[in-house]
């Protein structure tokens, strides 16, 4: 009973906050609403008996990544998105990247509709016992998913080096 109420509260908060993220004209508010949405997601994880995932969600996304987002938005100091067209009414009338974005959104909507309407073929495809303890997560990360884990870390390293190279000032010759 309590779990059902908690689920619908957090799910509703997550959906509402995420919807408001795209509805804002001020990027500062978008960032704050995205943080609220992450917080609601963390609540859902706790409902799934995965406190470690919930706390990691807060530390990594809400605590670290969104601070960087906020940093960039503050430095750009763009209180209003400057748009020539009212793209919310005519998404396909906007310039190239926006049309691409609208296409992506359409694809996502179609995928969501498919996922929600299909009947689950295999009910027990997930492990029955939840992997909630930190030790169990660590063990499976370094044994079963060791390859994916290492590849991800190399990917992040490459992205970091790339960012440093791109951001470096041209040396005067």
């Amino acid at each position: 009973m309590v779990e059902t109420i908690a689920f619908y509260t957090f799910a509703g908060m997550a959906i509402l906050a995420s919807a408001l993220v795209i509805g804002q004209r001020n990027p500062m508010y978008s960032v704050m609403l995205l943080i609220a949405s992450f917080g609601a997601l963390a609540g859902l994880y706790i409902g799934l008996d995965a406190p470690f995932a919930a706390v990691t969600q807060i530390i990594v996304y809400a605590g670290a990544i969104m601070v960087l987002f906020l940093f960039v938005v503050m430095l750009l100091n763009a209180p209003q998105e400057d748009t020539e067209h009212d793209v919310r009414m005519h998404p396909f009338a906007g310039p190239g990247p926006m049309r691409f974005g609208a296409l992506l959104a359409l694809g996502l909507a179609a995928e969501l509709g498919w996922a929600l309407t299909r009947t689950p073929s295999e009910a027990g495809s997930f492990a029955v016992t939840p992997v909630s303890s930190v030790a169990a997560i660590g063990r499976s990360l370094f044994t079963e998913y060791a390859f994916a884990f290492e590849v991800t870390s190399i990917l992040i390293l490459v992205a970091m080096v790339g960012a440093v190279v791109l951001a470096r000032r041209e040396e005067p010759r």
Binding site: V55, V67, L68, F71
Partner: protein, 355 residues
Amino acid sequence: MDSETLIRFAVYGVIVFVAFNALIIASAILVLAERKVMGFMQQRYGPYLVGFHGSLQPFADILKLLFKEELTPKGADRILFTLAPMLSVVAAFTAFATVPFGAQTTLFGLLKEPLNLGISDVNVGVLVVFAVTSMGVYGIVLAGWSSNSKYSLFGGLRASAQMISYELSYATALAAVILLANSLSLREVVDSQAGTWFGFISKWYIFLQPVGFIIYMIAGIAETNRAPFDFPEAEQELVAGYNTEYSSVRFALFPQAEYINMVTMSGVATSLYLGGWQGLLPFYTPLDPLIQQYGLGWMVFIAKVSGILFFYIWMRWTLPRYRYDQLMAFGWKALFPLSVINLLVTAAGVLYFNG
């Protein structure tokens, strides 16, 4: 619902109420302590007129702030301007929720099952403290941005960069203790520090983690934006930094959040390195079994927290402020590598002796 459950609920309610109000009063006491200690260090009396030796000064300060006009600068973002101090103070209060401040107790036989003295005992407690304190930075950053003032904006920018940089060293220092205790729950970390080595040295993790403790304290000072790392409000450069444009109650919430964060930081340091409510002094005293027997561990906890808080204040009035580039260089080039080495050495030691 039987009477046992009812009493448990009531006791939990009382604990939460007492802890909340203790934090509020602690911030008032800290304001006074800060001014008194500063006074003695500078060979003067400090506040002296309100109450006995100025003991009622913080309450006079709060009354004064309550009756001030609340100003909102022109061009400020009203919603975020009001939200920012609230975020700061809510994050500060919430972070304390997982800090345990006493051993299990039956309240002199009132309860059949022993009760944990602490607000909540989460099995990932250390991470919860870390997650919630990292939320506190939003209060400062938003205050800086929404004030529509260049000093505030710079304060907010500095706060976000500084807190992200020092969070890394802070978390890595924590991880070493977690490795030793083999648990993420603060209560279990404290429990594993019970007893003594060779019968006379208290089993505190500070003796196994001296480097980790120093890293934790330095990063903790940077995380709470205290001198010598108080760049977000460096008064010579930025007027008052992120809270330049604030007045009245909204202003009062920022120092309050800062002082409560200090209490939380000291509480976590006490639990992780100084044995929490176990062991009054670094060596065995005949008092130790008596304290545990009569359930006075919470007094030991408060004593240790007060000691660390005094250390914080002492640092503030002893060390001059760094330069901002020095802060960044120190954080990334000295403190972070040191904490990684500390973690690796600890992991190797745990593997060698336990594995």
